[in-house]
Structure formats: structure tokens, C-alpha cells
């Protein structure tokens, strides 16, 4: 019972913060907006041969929010994301988009739903310019020719909207950019294409401080513009600086889906390392 008016994360007898189904079971008195998640995946199983990597994994993401997906190496984060992007088929599991069941059986399905995954190698073409990369496959035309001026203007606007100032000219070839700048271009591209869910896989890993900070702020701005952002990260400061929700995976199971404002650093570390949390703070 909670008589102090302070919502403490409540653990079930097994020490788990919430149920695996993705719905918090903690009997906290906090008010939750009655919104359906934009994307809700439940009960995802996935095996590679005899090794079961995911056991009924779940993930809910909401528009306007950054959901951090945390877990140790091998917890199943990347596998879950690949299932979500249609890169790997799920053995079992339901995907709900805006509350409706949908099938994601290939990357094309995911793209049609507006799910964009920015991988660590971010699939950009080194020989093309920043603007050309951002419109790759969706070039704008004026009559029979490409409308380069329009594409360059829109690319610059998208970068400005995310306060990405370090890229310089949108005519620069992507091959000449540093890691953080490339990451920024990949994020801005997601915004330009009208994506609804953007998944960033370890976006700050291997970046210098200035670029890492800029990428985090861009992720935050993307969510503040109404997109649902999933941030996979090992860095607790990255997670706490921008996340609204935290989903923790432990040995292929979702062990917690909580609001970032309801948990402490220590609790999240405990969830990652042991899959459970001591109820007292």
C-alpha cells in the first residue's frame, strides 16, 4: 500500500516491476492518459535453432514519447527490433498498430506502417550528397527532372528543425561526414519521410561527446514533434536524459515497462542485471 501519495514502483511477488504482457500491474495511484500505444507488440517468441532468444517479449511505444529499450548484451534487444522491422520473422506474437492487429512479414510491411529503423551502420550512400541521401528512393521531380533545389531546401529545413547544426552544407557528400553527422542525417531522413515510429539502435555508441549530445537532442525533438521514438542504449545517462518510458529485457523476456519518472538509476540497473527489482527505494 502506498499512503504517502508518492507512487513507488510496486513489484509483484516474483520481484518483477510489471507483467510480461506489457501492462503495468503495479497498483500505483498515478493517472495514466487513456491512450492506445501507437505500436504494441506482445508475446513475441523467437528461436534460432535450439536457442530461444525471445520468450513472450513485449514492447509498447507511444506517439510523442521516447521509449528506451534496455538490457544486457544478448538480452534480445536487437532481435526484438529486427522482428519489429520485418527483417526476422517472429515464431509467435501479436503486433498492434494504433490498436489494430497487423502483420509485419517483411521490411516493406514495416515501411508502409511508417516504422523506420536507424541501424548502427545507417545505410547511407557515401557518394551521394546529404540531400540526395535524405530523398533516396523518393526523389522529388519537377516535370521530368529532379527538383534538386526543392530537395536541398527541405533537407536543410529538416536538419534545422532538429537543431542539427554540425552537418554544414546539404550538398556535401555523406562520405565526408563523421559518424555523428551521419547519424544525424539518418535521423533527419526519418522525419522527412513521414515516419511514425523511429527506432535508433545504439545511436550514441562510438560517437564523441558533442555528436552524441546532438543525436540525443535530435531524438528528443523527433518525439516532441509527435513521432514515437525507440532508443536502444547501454548508457544510463542517455536513457534518463531523453526517455519517457523504459522497457527492460532480461534473457529474452520483457521484465518491466515503466515510466522513466517512476524509477531510479539503481532500479533500472538491477532490472538489466537481474531481471528483478527490490521494491524499497
Amino acid at each position: 500500500m502506498n499512503l504517502t501519495g508518492r507512487a513507488r514502483p510496486v513489484a509483484d511477488p516474483a520481484g518483477r516491476l510489471v507483467a510480461r504482457s506489457g501492462l503495468p500491474t503495479g497498483a500505483s495511484p498515478r493517472w495514466e492518459p487513456p491512450v492506445t500505444p501507437l505500436l504494441d507488440v506482445r508475446g513475441v517468441d523467437k528461436s534460432f535453432g535450439p536457442v530461444q532468444v525471445l520468450h513472450e517479449a513485449a514492447l509498447s511505444v507511444h506517439p510523442g514519447e521516447v521509449t528506451a529499450l534496455v538490457g544486457d548484451n544478448g538480452a534480445g534487444k536487437s532481435t526484438l527490433i529486427k522482428c519489429l522491422g520485418g527483417i526476422l520473422p517472429m515464431d509467435a506474437g501479436d503486433v498492434l498498430f494504433e490498436g489494430r492487429p497487423v502483420r509485419v512479414s517483411g521490411p516493406r510491411d514495416a515501411a508502409e506502417l511508417g516504422i523506420e529503423i536507424v541501424h548502427q551502420d545507417f545505410a547511407l550512400c557515401d557518394n551521394l550528397s546529404v540531400a540526395e541521401n535524405m530523398f533516396l528512393g523518393r526523389e522529388r521531380r519537377r516535370g521530368l527532372v529532379l527538383d534538386e533545389a526543392d530537395m536541398e531546401r527541405r533537407a536543410a529545413q529538416a536538419l534545422a528543425a532538429l537543431s542539427i547544426r554540425t552537418v554544414g552544407s546539404v550538398r556535401r557528400p555523406v562520405g565526408s561526414l563523421a559518424g555523428g553527422q551521419r547519424q544525424s542525417v539518418a535521423i533527419a531522413r526519418a522525419m522527412l519521410w513521414g515516419s511514425r515510429v523511429v527506432v535508433l539502435d545504439e545511436p550514441t555508441a562510438s560517437l564523441g561527446l558533442a555528436h552524441a549530445q546532438q543525436v540525443l537532442e535530435a531524438a528528443r525533438k523527433l518525439a516532441d514533434r509527435g513521432l514515437a521514438v525507440v532508443l536502444i542504449s547501454h548508457n544510463m545517462n542517455d536513457v534518463f536524459s531523453v526517455a519517457d518510458r523504459i522497457t527492460a529485457l532480461f534473457l529474452g523476456r520483457t521484465v518491466a515497462q515503466v515510466r522513466a519518472s517512476e524509477v531510479t538509476h539503481t532500479q533500472v540497473v538491477e532490472l538489466i542485471t537481474s531481471g528483478r527489482v527490490t521494491p524499497t527505494l
Partner: protein, 412 residues
């Protein structure tokens, strides 16, 4: 006895509202303005005509027409290169000045590093006047300066702009506004405000907090400053000293603060504390770059730097938790060096928040980093300078456009 507002007062109010809309939200068509202000189109037409005649706005075809059918409607634009304000920012480590056009465009700027040490008012005012002279000389002949604003790291009395106390820069009872106004010789008063208060204003009007009526801005320089936007307005208190968040005691009996107290947020989180915890010698290089270097080292795994950020972040969390409980803000913005400190210690800050705030107060609060970067305070000073012309556009312009007045500051 006074009845309702007169025709003249209503017109002045509407002119100010329209100009403020264009100034803050950028060019807009008359139709958009009519809808935004709830006035009919003929009134908007008359107001725009008045402002155009005064040289404050102009109407022209939109630059980005797209490919829609029909004649595009004209947009009302601020006369940014013709109507400008001078903004000054006195920081502990730098002096900055800018010529900011109506609409918030930085037309020109000057900046210089300031060595730490005793504060010499003559030297600082002299440097600012030097900047101003060069900025004004570059302005077009027929352009007009409508106001001067300055941000200062200290408590500032609202009634006369007297700087009462600036512990980080070593100032007590400094008559900055009249001295600066006299030396500038522009025939304009100088409005002075606390730097973090002005940063709050700038982030609220042009930065990450646009549309957010309850916002707290925390500014890290050498010390910690703050500004509170409550119900859409900057909270000044009885005399304008409100928002000294840096002197909120978070650790009773803690580290000694320059204000004379102990355990202030400023003393527990400020730059000297972070650098000391990180094991840097007292005579090492200080300033923004030194703070960033600690955050960078922590990011690369340096144990001392990580420990320093942990401790500082924890105290910052105490302070932020108190603010959330007292003010129930919609947003907390970390600016100046606190942007780096927050991004490097968010786990500590938010852990404190999760434990020490009431659930109802914290569930909607957004923690954000400043959008305007190091220029938030300078932009705030510009907004202060524009306040008068936005309140009564025609009167101010008529007064300033009197022919024969010297546009250049008199040589000193």
C-alpha cells in the same frame, strides 16, 4: 472615474499585439493574423497599414509559393534590417553584443573573452560601448535603434535596473543602466535584467519552451542562475529579485557559497565544485571548456570525472525536485553549462526526481536542454530591448524618427 479603454488605447493594444505576433512567430498573411488575433480583416488591414507607414513591417509575396493554384496572398514581414535593438550579455568569462533586427534576427555581433578577476565597471562599460559603436556604424543610414537591453549575472532591481549583487562576478550596488545609457549617447534608456531571467524569457518566447506557460530555466555559468515563467509571465517577485534558484539551500551545512551561506545549489553544483571533485588543481583552466572536458572525460570512462558528475548531478536533482514540488512546472530547461552537466548526469538527476517529488507533480514534467545554446541570455536581452516598441509601436517610432538626431554614439 475611468470608463472602458478608449478607441486610442484599443488601437495601441492591437498594434502592439500584431507587431508582437510578427516579431515572435515570423511572417504571416493577413488572413492568419485575423484568425490569430480574433479581429476582422478590415481592422487587420488598417493596423498593417499603420505599421507599414511607420516602417515597422512590409507586405510582400511569399518566397516559398509552392505550386498551389491562384494568386498567393501577401505576407506581413518585420522590417528586420531597418528596425533593430542592441543587446548586451555580460558573462563572467565573456562579453557579447549584438544588433538584433525586429523578428529576432541577429544582424551583427561582437564578442570578447573577459579575463576573470576584479570587476572594473569602467572597463566593462567601455568594452560594451566600443562594441555598440561598431554595431551601429554598420547599420544602414535610415535604420532605427528602438531599444537597448543588457543581461547581467546578478540580482537586478526592477524599478531602476540597479545591479544589487553579483557574487560570481564580484559586484555590489552597480548603477549599470544609467552609466551605460550615458556613455552610449543614443538617447535611449538601457534596460538591465538578470541573465538567467532573460534566458528563461528567451527560451519561452523563441526556444524549446514556445507555447509552454509554466517553465523553469536553469542556467549554468560559473554559478547557477534561474528564471521562472509562471502563467506565461516571468516571475519577478516584489522587486525583481525572484528566481535566485542558485541560492536555494539543498545541503544544509554544506559547501560555503560566495553569498555567505552554506550548501546553496550554486555551491554544490557550480563550476568550481565540479572541477574540484574531478581532481583538477585550483589554478587549472576554468570556464565552459573545462566543464565540457570533465563531461567528455566521464563519457570516456574516467573514474574521477564520473564521480564528480555523479555528486553534482545528485545535488542538481535535489534542487530540481524541490522546484517541481513547489511550482509544478510543465518544463525544466537546462542551459549554459548545465546542458552538458544534465546530459552527463541525467540518471542521478532523474533518480532524485523519482524519489523526492510528489507523483502528481512529476508525471507531466518535461526535462529539456536549451534550444538557443549560449545565446539564450543575449536573445533575452534583445527581447527586453524590444519591449517598449512592442507595447506602443507608433509612439516609440515617432519619437525616434525625429530628424536631425545623431544616430551614432557620441565619442567619449
Amino acid at each position: 472615474m475611468k470608463g472602458g479603454p478608449s478607441q486610442e488605447e484599443i488601437r495601441r493594444h492591437n498594434l502592439g499585439t500584431l507587431l508582437r505576433h510578427i516579431h515572435l512567430r515570423g511572417p504571416a498573411s493577413r488572413a492568419v493574423l485575423a484568425e490569430g488575433m480574433g479581429l476582422n480583416r478590415s481592422t487587420i488591414l488598417a493596423l498593417v497599414a499603420d505599421l507599414t507607414a511607420a516602417g515597422l513591417v512590409r507586405e510582400e509575396l511569399p518566397r516559398d509559393t509552392g505550386r498551389r493554384a491562384g494568386r498567393p496572398s501577401l505576407v506581413v514581414r518585420p522590417e528586420s534590417t531597418q528596425v533593430y535593438a542592441l543587446a548586451f550579455d555580460v558573462g563572467v568569462d565573456r562579453l557579447a553584443a549584438a544588433r538584433v533586427g525586429l523578428g529576432g534576427v541577429v544582424l551583427d555581433r561582437r564578442e570578447a573573452a573577459r579575463p576573470r578577476g576584479a570587476f572594473d565597471p569602467d572597463e566593462v562599460v567601455g568594452a560594451l560601448v566600443g562594441f555598440a559603436r561598431r554595431l551601429v556604424r554598420k547599420a544602414g543610414r535610415d535604420s532605427v535603434c528602438v531599444g537597448v537591453g543588457a543581461a547581467f549575472p546578478g540580482t537586478v532591481r526592477q524599478s531602476d535596473g540597479m545591479v544589487r549583487f553579483g557574487p560570481n562576478i564580484g559586484v555590489r550596488d552597480l548603477e549599470l543602466a544609467p552609466v551605460l545609457a550615458r556613455r552610449l549617447g543614443l538617447g535611449l534608456p538601457v534596460a538591465v535584467g538578470n541573465d538567467a531571467n532573460l534566458g528563461a524569457l528567451a527560451e519561452h518566447e523563441r526556444g524549446v519552451g514556445v507555447g509552454c506557460a509554466n517553465l523553469i530555466y536553469l542556467h549554468g555559468d560559473v554559478g547557477i542562475g534561474g528564471g521562472l515563467i509562471v502563467g506565461g509571465r516571468l516571475l519577478g517577485g516584489a522587486e525583481g529579485y525572484a528566481g535566485e534558484i542558485g541560492h536555494m539551500v539543498v545541503n544544509p551545512g554544506g559547501r560555503r557559497c560566495d553569498c555567505g551561506s552554506r550548501g546553496c545549489l550554486d555551491a554544490e553544483v557550480g563550476e568550481p565544485t565540479l572541477l574540484e571533485y574531478a581532481g583538477l588543481p585550483a589554478d587549472a583552466q576554468a570556464g565552459r571548456d573545462a566543464v565540457r572536458a570533465v563531461v567528455d572525460a566521464a563519457d570516456l570512462g574516467d573514474a574521477a570525472a564520473r564521480g564528480a558528475l555523479h555528486r553534482v548531478g545528485d545535488w542538481l536533482g535535489h534542487g530540481v525536485a524541490n522546484l517541481v514540488n513547489i511550482f509544478n512546472p510543465e518544463m525544466i530547461v537546462f542551459g549554459g553549462t548545465l546542458r552538458d552537466i544534465y546530459l552527463g548526469s541525467a540518471a542521478q538527476v532523474r533518480s532524485r526526481l523519482a524519489v523526492q517529488t510528489l507523483a502528481a507533480s512529476r508525471e507531466r514534467v518535461k526535462l529539456r536542454t536549451a534550444d538557443l545554446g549560449d545565446d539564450a541570455t543575449l536573445f533575452g536581452a534583445a527581447e527586453l530591448a524590444f519591449a517598449e516598441v512592442l507595447a506602443d509601436p507608433l509612439e516609440v517610432l515617432t519619437r525616434l524618427r525625429v530628424p536631425g538626431e545623431a544616430p551614432l554614439p557620441a565619442p567619449t
